[in-house]
């Protein structure tokens, strides 16, 4: 009894060493595999999106391996849970790089996590492909030769959605979550409004994670806008739209949101989201007109019990696919060579041709404008109607000069 209690710290440390030795041995056996670290928020409110990202990334890896890999070297996905916490994301990335010797990192769902991951990877010259929205990652403060951004950024989204919705003389109001995402969306929409002659009549900011919007809605109603834009995400978006609808506001104005996600629509339900217009980077419904979408959907459904890929999930597919295409093209896993190959790459993963712009490595891609369908249809995944596809164009992005890049 007495010995057991004093042996406890010893046992703990022995277990740690044994675990360490085992893992080192496992590492040795896979010395040749191409390791892609994937830190995503499996815990927390975006767990469903994260899980779909894992499934999609696995599909991209599988396709690469089935096609022979890189001269017999197979790719391997190392999934880690970053718990939607930037500190945790940085620790996981350090673990992936130091302990698992990951060659590349793909991941990060919130702006804060991707920025903290990027901060770790760029110091250590590891190629990182980010798959979440942020304007900041394109700016000189955070960009680097090894940082690539596959997802849309708020600026692109707002230019596309704004141009579709705004008309001259329209009154625009914003309900904005008071953090970077919301502020970036407002900035982008305001710019489009000014160009098209629409009038921004006001903005109400709310703290992140707000659960009751009743205190903000009267002010917005008093502004008498034609269009109310919800510059928030996830639960905030769902609850705000629901409550605004209950205050009778949907009858008086158009509800628009820059990013309309599949999971928010499913969690919110058909009646809450009815008539809401938004943007997204992918919806499976474009497969009728886009061959690469059809191929991607078919492959994904075959591997995942007939389930459709979601928007955020498909981003992970595209990111890993473009990364592995670059690895193949470079013929190596060396960071500099792969970064150069990625910069030169033109790829059509799932919705048409995309490429990474030179100065900030932003993936130039199309933006879909969608509207939420009114009633529940036969297929529970058929939740959106594609109103238009804004083609890939650098004009949707901020210019290199504006971002601070020289030359």
């Amino acid at each position: 009894m007495r010995h057991a209690s004093t042996c406890r710290p010893l046992i703990l440390s022995l277990r740690g060493t044994a675990l360490g030795a085992l893992l080192a041995a496992a590492g040795m056996a896979h010395a040749q595999t191409i390791k892609i670290g994937l830190p995503v928020p499996l815990t927390g409110p975006y767990g469903a999106e994260a899980k779909d990202q894992v499934r999609n990334a696995e599909l991209a890896v599988k396709e690469f391996n089935d096609a022979g890999g890189l001269a017999e070297r197979k790719a391997e996905l190392l999934v880690r849970d970053d718990k939607l916490n930037p500190g945790e994301a940085a620790t996981r990335t350090l673990e992936l790089i130091e302990k698992d010797h990951a060659n590349f990192i793909v991941g990060g769902l919130s702006a804060a996590t991707q920025l903290s991951i990027n901060n770790v990877t760029k110091l250590r010259k590891v190629v990182y492909v980010s798959i979440s929205q942020s304007d900041v990652i394109n700016e000189t403060s955070d960009a680097s030769p090894y940082t690539f951004h596959e997802a849309l950024n708020p600026h692109m989204t707002t230019q596309a959605v704004g141009r579709h919705v705004f008309k001259k003389g329209m009154r625009i109001a914003f309900l904005t979550a008071d953090y970077a995402y919301g502020q970036e969306m407002t900035r982008g929409f305001t710019r489009v409004a000014r160009e098209l002659g629409a009038e921004v009549v006001g903005e109400v900011k709310h703290p992140l994670g707000q659960q009751d919007y009743s205190t903000f809605l009267p002010r917005l109603q008093a502004m008498k806008p034609d269009v109310l834009i919800f510059n928030n995400f996830g639960n905030d978006n769902r609850i705000a739209i629901k409550q605004a609808g209950e205050f009778g506001m949907k009858k008086k104005m158009r509800f628009v949101t820059p990013i309309l996600t599949y999971t928010a629509r499913v969690a919110g339900g058909a009646s809450t989201y009815e008539g809401v217009i938004g943007g997204t980077q992918y919806f499976w419904g474009i497969e009728d007109k886009t061959p690469s979408a059809k191929a991607f959907n078919t492959a994904f459904k075959a591997a995942n019990e007939n389930r459709h890929p979601s928007d955020y999930g498909a981003m992970a597919y595209s990111a890993v696919k473009s990364l592995l295409l670059a690895v193949k093209s470079a013929g190596a896993t060396d960071s500099d060579k792969v970064a150069a190959a990625l910069s030169a790459l033109k790829y059509d993963a799932y919705k048409g041709v995309q490429y990474y712009r030179g100065c900030d490595h932003q993936s130039v891609q199309s933006v879909l404008i969608i509207e939420s369908t009114a009633k529940e249809t036969k297929d529970p995944a058929d939740v959106f109607k594609v109103l238009s596809v804004v083609p890939a164009d650098e004009k949707l992005l901020r210019s290199c000069g504006e971002l601070g890049f020289k030359g």
Binding site: R2, H3, S5, T6, R8, L12, S13, G16, T17, L19, G20, L23, L42, T43, G47, D81, K83, N85, P86, G87, A90, T91, L94, E95, E98, K99, A111, A112, L115, S116, N118, N119, V120, L123, R124, S134, V136, S141, D142, Y179, A180, Y181, L208
Partner: protein, 331 residues
């Protein structure tokens, strides 16, 4: 009248573990330092070891107030955050060298603690906890609004790649060297803590914990003692924050969130309040369980919650505290 022969029976021989423990307790700083010198080899990867050191230091600072002085604060995230952001902003935006930024962070933490303490010390018990919570939320709000902090995006660019002192060069991109860099600070802090606890002040704070009225009757200035304990506690936490900023090269805004305050209470309780080594055991246990559990299942929070409930029910003195009790009672 028979002679009273008051020879006492010889004390029973102490068991080996109790002897060893007594010896270690006498030189606790040395023992702890030696343990942590070999620690990186006991952990699956060095960044985890660094995290344990940093969170352990955070818990040590908190323990000074909670375990030794008996004041439960729910606002200690403020000091971790102020330390992290001060060091972070000075390094990232003003290019200050680390040997100036880290002490500046400690000073900043102490100043904030002084202000908070002056306001909070007048309240007692659960109200003290609530006031510290409220004040730390105000700190959170203020720093969030500060443009230099990066708000929700966090503060990036705290890049200290290389450290040189007295000719010794350390490459902080190498995890093992980074560990020893952090370790040097933690060792110094632990030595300081030991000095504080062994001093008359150390006696005073434990007196306040045991019986405040009696301590006052003995002539101690209770408000001064509590305030000093509060500020010293914040100094350790601010140091932990500064080290964390350098370790991750960034400062997440979550550092200031009350969930972080809640976490440090958990760490202290898990390890053992009022013990010297307990906070590190708590930090190690918490981080290891989290690490291992999140590798097995995405529902690791259930496991962590269950472990916590289990410890509160059956190990009220924490893991290390219970261990110490068992050993010291085995004579």
């Amino acid at each position: 009248m028979s002679a009273i022969n008051p020879t006492l029976a010889a004390a029973p021989p102490r068991s080996l573990p109790a002897n060893a423990f007594a010896a270690i307790a006498k030189h606790r700083v040395l023992a702890t330092v030696l343990f942590f010198a070999i620690f990186p080899w006991l952990m699956p990867y060095q960044s985890l070891a660094i995290n344990i050191l940093i969170y352990g230091l955070f818990a040590v600072g908190f323990n000074l107030l909670f375990g030794y002085t008996g004041l439960l604060s729910f606002g200690h995230a403020a000091f971790l955050g102020v330390g992290a952001y001060t060091a972070g902003i000075l390094i990232a935006q003003y290019q200050m060298p680390w040997w100036a930024a880290v002490p500046a962070a400690i000073v900043a933490g102490c100043v904030v603690a002084l202000v908070m303490g002056l306001l909070a010390i007048r309240t007692r018990g659960i109200y003290f906890a609530m006031v510290t919570l409220a004040l730390s939320q105000c700190v959170y709000f203020l720093i969030y609004q500060l443009p230099a902090s990066g708000g929700e995006n966090g503060l990036r660019g705290v890049n200290v790649a290389e450290v040189s002192l007295f000719g010794l060069k350390l490459n902080l991109l190498d995890p093992l060297q980074k560990y020893y860099f952090v370790f040097a600070f933690v060792a110094l802090a632990l030595w300081l803590l030991s000095r504080i606890l062994a001093s008359p002040f150390g006696g005073a704070i434990e007196a306040v914990r045991e019986n405040e009225a009696r301590a006052r009757a003995c002539g101690f200035d209770i408000e001064r003692t509590k305030l000093l304990a509060f500020v010293l506690s914040a100094a350790f936490c601010a140091l932990a924050g500064a080290l964390n900023a350098i370790h991750l090269s960034s400062v997440p805004i979550e550092t200031l969130h009350y969930a972080t305050s809640g976490m440090v209470v958990m760490l202290c309780l898990l390890g053992g309040m009022g013990t010297y080594f307990g906070p590190f055991v708590g930090a190690a246990l918490f981080l290891l369980i989290q690490d291992l559990a999140s590798g097995w299942t995405e529902h690791w929070q259930l496991l962590v919650g269950a472990v916590f409930v289990f410890v509160v029910l059956f190990f009220p003195n924490g893991v290390w505290g219970t261990l110490l009790q068992k050993v010291s009672h085995d004579r």
